[in-house]
Symmetry: C2
Subunit: 228 residues, 2 copies
């Protein structure tokens, strides 16, 4: 783990992920992007990801929060979690981060589509076992999500660290798919002059902070750049 | 397929899904809900889901759009899609729908959490093979997403139907996990009087419709109840 996190203001990473059989997009390949900067920007723009993994042949998809340092993705949870127990030993996972940006209404049903940005990352999950390393990763998460906040909180206890699993995954290969813009009707579609066509944009926003009822009135709402 | 869709105004389905080994929540089981009405409401509140499936032991998680009729979930895409090709033959899938409702900031790092609603559905994917059945399912999708719109568009062509795969999945078992409300600090946490605590709410909203540039100015923006 480095002290310079690129999502916290350091230099963006360059280069691209090398497409493999699992990450290469075959269809609509013009929408596929293997560029690190594009993929990382999609990953970092929300804390929410969906993690796919397999237990005894059964696929599971679990929503969770992630953070990233270079080509390493992290997530955490309860040590009692079935997902994290299964992931401790280096099993293959697929982590998908999606921003749904709008519905695209065309003049034929067939040409309806969506505007979206999605990043799909492949690698192997691996538990961070040492207590100090685990605590360092959890500090990183707090520092990335809420800069300055950890200094206002007491240190994690040994009991809390024991109750928490932290998983890391080296991003082995990854791809982004991006679609934006208006509908792409061809001549056949455009001949229908009577139906509305365009984009119904979808946006995720942060609402007005809701202070806890036990809070003293003299504590101002903190400003966390990622969550404004 | 019935003509009465419960998401289009028909009666909500009652009862609960029977938890199985894969859907039973072990940890934080107070947050687990097996109730059909709750699960269906989460599923229907967004078109976006994440579908998990396995090819040769490798998990994949693909974002896509779904629609639901009772206990049957549907999705569709290009017949050339690797996902849909793999899913034709009845493989097990896991479909997850998540609404991220906010970050919950507590007075210890450990008690930080999120407000969310997530539904996790299990079943087997199966392709709809007949062209007429496929077309009926695609009409259902349009009717559920954009009531009245299909009547303004030309019929799907044989070529378009051939190029489209439609998958259906009977929901065999399912679970929802829901967390809402303020942070749950205990006495230890509450003793820290100096840090802000509360909820940073996250909301998905529909923005102002963006008319296509080729649109005549006399066509009003349609009103689709689900996408206002």
């Amino acid at each position: 783990m480095t002290q310079q996190h690129d999502i916290a203001g350091g230099a963006a990473q360059s280069g691209r992920y090398t497409p493999t059989d699992r990450s290469r997009i075959r269809r609509n390949h013009k929408r596929a992007v293997y560029d690190r900067a594009t993929i990382h920007a999609i990953v970092d723009a929300t804390p929410l990801c969906h993690i796919g993994y397999v237990i005894d042949g059964q696929p599971f998809v679990t929503p969770t929060f992630h953070w990233r340092d270079g080509d390493t993705l992290y997530w955490h949870g309860s040590s009692a979690s079935r997902m994290l127990k299964a992931q401790k030993g280096g099993i293959p996972v697929c982590v998908t981060v999606t921003h749904f940006d709008g519905l695209v209404l065309a003049r034929t049903a067939f040409d309806h589509t969506a505007n979206f940005r999605t990043a799909i990352l492949y690698g192997k999950a691996q538990a961070i076992t040492g207590s100090a390393e685990k605590n360092a990763a959890l500090h990183d998460m707090m520092d990335l999500y809420f800069p300055g906040r950890m200094a206002q909180l007491r240190e994690n206890t040994a009991k809390e660290l024991k109750a928490t699993s932290v998983i890391r995954m080296e991003i082995e290969d990854a791809v982004a798919k991006v679609r934006n813009g208006p509908p792409g009707d061809d001549e056949d579609g455009l001949s229908n002059k009577d139906v509305w066509a365009g984009v119904l944009p979808r946006t995720e926003t942060w609402g007005t902070p809701e202070p806890d009822e036990h809070l003293s009135s003299n504590i101002p709402v903190p400003v966390y750049p990622r969550f404004r």
